[in-house]
């Protein structure tokens, strides 16, 4: 079969099994868009801004496990995509971004819409390619998918100069079934000796804890993790990225850990004698003050990326490998072992944990006459029976969604954890809804974040991707305001938004349903009404208590056992600002 470069790109995507491309046309990709027009297999979703394309592809990837695919033009199209690429990179999300480039002969001449995409994205991609030969195009695309989806996943950029997609130049096409790269051989199973050592340590632990992260979800190992935890009877804490990797309603779950984690999770980490970190990377939002991090613990760390091991926290037993096969290997050894976890030690450990739980660190004022954001999330959980996909933006609302919506299944919590990208939520929700049209998809956001990619409301309409937007509107950049309250004597420097649009009218202008909610008793009926409107995107503008803060909190530079808890009975925050 002879194809031109543009056809090769599209045919390669077909052969790769790609269902959706999220993109935006422009000069350098016109040949590609022409080839796209002449087929029906790969569906193109026209976003309204290239950042939206990357986030939508990212949401699609997080929810399905399949790589997200993006197509953008050169220059500004490419640079607009960078934030979304960096977002995917920080959270290890598989993504292939095809960017147009000016023709090869003019590269380097400051041509119209020229930018060095390979150079600009180098620090925020797993790898990138500039295609210089049309006969290598199909192989390069195969390599991009291979690199993006194996080992520790991540985004890969393929920069395609316009002359490479010239319709007049046809070359033989064959999409390789497999590619190998001599310098790229990610580890799969772990070192047996190391695993044996880890099992021995686990079986003698007195105060153990399982600390699991996004790697469990990426590695499809949630069932293995659950079996592992149930077999050992150890407490489990998840990172922000790991929520859903272990059922949050399970009695062994002690909640999220870290800066806004639960008291019991952080105290258990601090007091533990053995930690097994599974697909987690000791992020600074998790560890707090490094030199006081888990002072009594010996740490086992399973990760597919050797560079994540002992990067910030030295571990005793490193295991490089994919989480799933390593957990399976461990389970086998545990079953074969004559040693069993000490019942007595675990019983007293759980007694201690129950005392920490009794602090009830997640309580808030339920009698407030203002709408508490936590209450909204709890109601959202009930109305959706805990089964919705929740995409979130970044800020206070993100933490409340993470804290008050217990995720029992993986891939249902869709948020920008590593980069913390405001504007992520709405396009990500659209990507999820396209992947699972019958599922409930909500975007939990705030008045700041939602305005960063609000133009994608138009995309949601065009492609019939009805999502429910839960806007926790406090007229503040709430997380910034919270930090300014704690650390800058409440000097609210530019964290206040005094000209917020009328979101109801805005939603209606985009062809959606808008509703405003300003009383606690209206929250539940409004949510029910919104989710009853199955085929409509609904924008719920919920005016929440403006001064509510996220608790508990480990303030910057503090250790796990030095948490700031909510003031007793919560009345301190129940006030309106003048």
């Amino acid at each position: 079969m002879e194809l031109n470069g543009a056809q090769i790109v599209i045919q390669s995507l077909k052969d790769e099994g790609v269902e959706y491309i999220f993109g935006y046309p422009g000069g350098a990709v016109l040949h590609l868009y022409d080839a796209l027009f002449q087929q029906d297999d790969v569906k193109h979703i026209l976003v309204r801004h290239e950042q939206g394309a990357t986030h939508a592809a990212d949401g699609y990837a997080r929810a399905t496990g399949k790589p997200g695919v993006v197509l953008v033009t050169s220059g500004p199209g490419a640079t607009n995509a960078v934030t979304g690429i960096a977002t995917a990179y920080m959270d290890s999300i598989p993504m292939v971004v095809i960017s147009g480039q000016v023709p090869l002969p003019v590269i380097g001449s400051d041509a119209f819409q020229e930018v060095d995409m390979v150079g600009i994205t180098r620090p925020c991609v797993k790898h990138n390619f500039l295609v210089k030969d049309v006969t290598k195009l199909a192989e390069t695309i195969k390599k991009a998918f291979y690199v993006a989806t194996t080992g520790r996943p991540g985004p890969v950029v393929v920069d395609v100069p316009k002359d490479i997609t010239d319709p007049r130049i046809k070359v033989p096409y064959k999409y390789p079934k497999k590619v190998s790269i001599r310098s790229y051989n990610p580890a799969v199973s772990g070192h047996k000796g190391q695993i044996k050592k880890a099992v021995d340590l686990l079986l003698t632990a007195q105060k153990p804890i399982i600390y699991s992260g996004g790697g469990v979800i990426l590695g499809e190992a949630d069932k293995e993790l659950t079996e592992f935890a149930h077999t050992l009877g150890f407490p489990v804490t998840n990172t922000l990225m790991g929520l859903g990797a272990y059922p949050a309603t399970d009695k062994q779950f002690v909640g999220m850990l870290g800066m806004h984690g639960t008291y019991e999770a952080n105290m258990a980490m601090h007091d533990s004698d053995v930690i097994i970190a599974i697909g987690a990377r000791f992020d600074d939002r998790v560890t707090g003050k490094l030199d006081q991090f888990c002072p009594h613990a010996q740490i086992i760390h399973i990760d597919v990326d050797p560079a994540s091991i002992s990067k910030t926290v030295k571990v005793a037993i490193p295991i490089v490998g994919e989480v799933k096969p390593v957990l399976e290997q461990m389970m086998e050894m545990i079953k074969e072992s004559k040693k069993k976890p000490s019942k007595k030690a675990l019983e007293s450990w759980w007694n201690q944990i129950d005392q920490w739980r009794a602090v009830k660190c997640m309580e808030y004022d339920r009698n407030s006459r203002l709408i508490k954001p936590q209450y909204v999330i709890e109601q959202l959980y009930e109305v959706t029976k805990g089964e919705a996909y929740i995409a979130s933006d970044v800020g206070q609302h993100q933490m409340w969604a993470a804290q008050y919506y217990p995720f029992d299944k993986p891939r249902h919590w869709i948020n920008s954890g590593g980069l913390g990208t405001m504007g992520f939520g709405l396009p990500a929700a659209i990507g999820v809804k396209l992947a699972f049209p019958d599922a409930e998809v909500a975007c939990v956001t705030g008045d700041g974040s939602i305005q960063m990619c609000i133009q994608e409301l138009s995309t949601a309409l065009q492609y019939n991707a009805p999502v429910k937007i839960i806007n926790l509107n406090n007229s503040y950049l709430g997380m910034v305001r919270q930090w300014q309250e704690f650390s800058y004597e409440s000097r609210y420097s530019h964290s206040y938004m005094d000209t917020i649009p009328d979101f109801v009218k805005l939603a209606e202008a985009y062809g959606h349903v808008g509703m405003r909610v300003d009383k606690p008793e209206e929250v539940r009926p409004a949510l029910e009404e919104a989710f009853a409107l199955k085929d409509r995107t609904v924008f719920l503008d919920i005016l929440t208590d403006r001064t509510e803060n996220v608790y508990p909190m480990i303030e910057a530079g503090k250790a796990h056992n030095d948490m700031t808890l909510r003031v007793a009975n919560g009345t301190s925050t129940d006030r309106e600002l003048a």
Binding site: R122, I181, S183, Y184, D305, P306
Partner: protein, 163 residues
Amino acid sequence: MRHIISILIENESGALSRVAGLFSARGYNIESLTVAPTEDSSLSRMTLVTRGSDDIIEQITKQLNKLIDVVKLIDLAESDHIERELMMVKIKTSEHTREEIRGIAAIFRGKIIDVTPTTYVVEMTGPSSKLDAFIAAIDGDTIIEVVRSGPTGISRGEKGLHL
């Protein structure tokens, strides 16, 4: 501690900037970096001198290995190795200093490879410390230019860095 990391890397455009970018992005220091083709035209060899604690060097080698273009690498400091650097020094001369400079160069096994009525260019190879010692032995005011290649190295014995 000072480490010499020897890297086999794909001979692709941009490979060098991936390595250099990694060092600047993660705040690692590079003392010197040399790149040259190898007997296999698809590969380049990079020799990189860096300094850091054991933890930092461990991260550097892990992060380098993570780059898709890096095929193989070794930290030469981990085992017995030979290190050489090439230096050319242009020195201002006068009638009564020429013999002294020739003498010092001979002690250091340097060669004089260019002569004008007022200058010498001395060529020298050796471990970096030897080159430093030669510079120290010459009157600083007479040095016009010092050009150094940066160290490169090879391990002793049968083991070697190859595919």
